[in-house]
Symmetry: C2
Subunit: 518 residues, 2 copies
């Protein structure tokens, strides 16, 4: 039997937190907080420096100093102008090794009930000699924008890459053979399988007979419709990476849900993550941070924002299907403003979940309830409470003074976009920019692209600090300067009073990466 | 009191069908079928010609002959190669007048419980003198692609434009004053309103005080959050047209649901509708027909297709929230193919509603159920039954040999895209093409654009029949010629065996239209 049990990095860390060598089932009654507030590890700040960075009056811009990040990535950040005591943004940048780990049942963190990766059986993956399996690594950059506390953002910055690692482990041997189409089914060796290759697990569309047999019992499939059940969908390798990242976000969110039973993990956070693996950049976004690529002066948006505005219809649809989620206080209909009591019986503009346009309806008593989605643009809120609709955490968030939970309306699923880095030539000025909404609230994509291109064009191309300097310049342009009791930027506009964090990732460096570095 | 009761065209027709002068509540017990199968009115075919057109062997291409359609629109169609006895496509082209109709309570079709349009009160719409109100008309082109019978398509072709008319009537006086921002609230005259202009209905953001008062009772709004409740969304005129079209689709679907209690209305249909009103084209699509614009040789897609593939996540989400809709026979998870019994316990690729990528899961007994969405591309089906996910009708459609209804998964809501015709100059070769999937299954957007541009370039620009000739050419290119017992098109590919219907609308003619023709 050819099975490999993967002991994941996450499970060993959870083992460490939860059990310190004893059974993972025992929960420590009064654990000390394990992750105090801090700034990103790679800034390597002393406790004094962390304290100084939180000065809401001077708002010092922190930049990467001695430490070099992979690909010479640049980074800069600044705290908000007083909207929260701490900087609720967090960042992470890691190179994570994916390696086949031997199972060790004697290890205290060995948990036989955890999911394990089953390898394809030998005849299915005949082209892979497991003794020759190479290691893979992936690069990981992430920004987390916290709200209602810094706990979830700090926690996610420590763990999300490990959850991604765990999910990728499960498909590691398939990814190591990029020419192989992912097998539809993975199983233990099966004698029947050897005798009848097409009757058991199948791949590469070999299993027409098996599929047909399976389909024969399909409900509602008269014989004349049978041919359409012959097919088998072809799944691409990159879809496994996307699925791994999607499930890692889910696991991360469930991890926060579990750990909050033991620790206080305050608030929630958005997450914007870039994974570089096998020549491709995967940009996963849940929330309103933003990623874009500047290539040859051209702007390629690499994320969409998930806000009450952009996700109105999903949320209204959910509330329409499960009205009890709204308690007695909210209506799933949208109105241009609050309805007043004296307007009952008159006709008012509204939108339902299936509409993008507006129409008039006669106002009922029911419509006096507060709308599920209310406000416009940056001021839009779900249940009068939260301005983003995707992210991690917020498990205990309720509508003020009520029992109405916000979480069912939030999604922890990212949208993942793929950029095939190895397909293009990149110059030293081609970069991906990741930033929290503090930047994008005051600068447009165009302004950011011009600022970065302008700045990099004036730098020595060999200066390894140019990307951090460009990030600093961006943060400066968005924060502005303190004048007449307010932060002002170019054009006498208001500067951003929010936390701002910026990664600038040069894409040229990706080209020099081995597709499978060992 | 300044109220106008609008007797809509639809309600008078319903009155005719349902009641013939008596109460609309009485339902005729055994009415004769009112709409027998036919081809579009504007083809003006004799019964003999209708019969000849249904020849599945010769598949004659029908074109517009004497009758001229508005804007010199071209039209051609052909029946399928035998997949259904009748041509299940239908088409409609009308210019519909929107006029204020006086209410007449003594009329047999006056139905006081129907929705009526309330005009804005005098002080709100001070700039409109109601004695000077002009009439408006709109142009309407529509294609309906039926399935499971021709009833729904025939019915929708007769009524949808009247439902659009009814919905537009309700906002007619607002549309007639294009510079006016639609009032948030319409109401009867209210003395309080006169005394305190900002306290009652409001428009143009004048009612900050009123909005604030309304918001004061908002649940979960601590005082610090109050400012965001001051705002009032600004709604554009064109959003009212979009909302009217969206609601017209809903009313059309409800109309079919009602009438099927009295008549047999077989099957369902997709709907692709273009409305021209006040200088703009509104393209509303529910299903897999397609609209595109060719302007200066450039292709502008004007619709998206709604299929099990494109709407997988919406359907999976619904099934996840309301699993009873699946009976005991289906699972909302997607697998690349059917799962077989001997694969229980092995690991198989799957996707859930929140995923775009794929991951492996351990197969459970539960996963042996048939997937809600199954198949790929044109062969994808919802509940093993239907290949489109939006449209009209299908109220009685069930999974074969079961009680599982398909309708909850289908949406009658169109997606509406807007093209601001008056903003561009158009040449005689700039057109909008509408066609059912019979065309797009075998020809790409690019091939269609090249065929049409090539054809029109060889025509006399003054020939009013050139657009019909171009439509005929397209249908010919997609149907092909009968050779070796099969229909073949260029490149020795298979021709379309489906019904094919094509409108070609020259855009230049829109420019010469008055924005408000009387």
């Amino acid at each position: 039997m050819m099975i490999t049990r993967v002991r994941s990095a996450v499970s060993s860390i959870i083992g460490g937190i939860m059990a310190s060598g004893s059974s993972a089932q025992e929960i420590h009654p009064n654990p000390p907080p394990r992750f105090p507030y801090s700034r990103p590890d790679f800034l390597a700040l002393s406790p004094d420096e962390v304290e100084c960075s939180a000065d809401h009056i001077s708002r010092p811009i922190l930049i990467l100093k001695e430490m070099k990040l992979p690909w010479a990535t640049g980074y800069a950040e600044v705290i908000n102008a007083g909207k929260s005591t701490l900087n609720e943004d967090q960042a992470c940048c890691e190179v994570v090794e994916l390696r086949k780990r031997p199972a060790d049942p004697s290890s205290p963190s060995y948990t036989p009930t955890r999911r394990r990766s089953s390898l394809p059986s030998a005849d299915v993956l005949e082209s892979i000699d497991s003794t020759e399996v190479k290691e893979l690594n992936f690069h990981h950059w992430a920004l987390f924008d916290g709200h209602g506390g810094s706990g979830a953002a700090v926690f996610a910055a420590k763990f999300l890459h490990l959850h991604i690692e765990e999910q990728l482990q499960e498909v590691l041997e398939i990814l190591q053979n990029p020419t192989l189409q992912p097998p539809t089914c993975l199983g233990e060796e099966n004698p029947v399988h050897h005798l009848h290759p097409s009757a058991g697990c199948s791949q590469r569309g070999l299993s027409r007979a098996a599929s047909l047999r399976g389909a024969a019992g399909a409900p509602g499939s008269p014989n004349t419709m049978a041919p359409r059940f012959f097919m088998e969908k072809k799944i691409k390798q990159e879809s496994l990476v996307v699925g791994a990242i999607e499930n890692a976000f889910k696991e991360m969110d469930a991890h926060i849900a579990r750990e909050r039973m033991v620790y206080s993990i305050s608030g929630g956070c958005t997450a914007l993550v870039v994974v570089y693996l096998l020549g491709k950049l995967y940009v996963a976004n849940a929330g309103d941070s933003r990623a874009l690529i500047i290539r040859g002066g051209e702007i390629l948006p690499m994320s969409s924002s998930f806000t009450p505005d952009s996700e109105r219809q999903r949320l209204q649809f959910l509330a329409h299907l499960q009205p009890s989620l709204l308690g007695n206080d909210f209506t799933h209909l949208e109105f241009p403003r609050r309805v007043t009591k004296k307007e009952v019986g008159k006709r008012m503009l509204y939108r339902d979940f299936s509409m993008n346009g507006w129409a008039y309806k006669t106002v009922q008593e029911e419509d006096l309830k507060f709308p599920l989605i209310f406000g416009e643009g940056k001021k839009a809120r779900v249940l009068a409470t939260i301005g983003i609709t995707r992210g991690l955490g917020n498990h205990d968030l309720k509508v003020h003074d009520s029992d109405i939970a916000i979480k069912p309306f939030l999604s922890c699923s990212p949208e993942v976009k793929i950029y095939n880095l190895s397909q293009y030539e990149h110059s030293a000025d081609d970069v991906m920019i990741l930033a929290t909404d503090g930047l994008w609230d005051v600068l447009s994509n165009q302004e950011v692209a011009e600022a970065v291109s302008g700045f990099l064009g004036n730098c020595d191309p060999d200066d390894q600090h140019r990307y951090t300097m460009a990030a600093q310049d961006l943060v400066m342009k968005a924060r502005g300067v303190l004048r007449d009791r307010g932060w002002r930027i170019a054009g006498d506009r208001l500067g951003s009073g929010d936390d701002i964090s910026v990664f600038i990732i040069p894409l040229m460096h990706g080209n020099s990466q081995q597709p499978q570095p060992s």
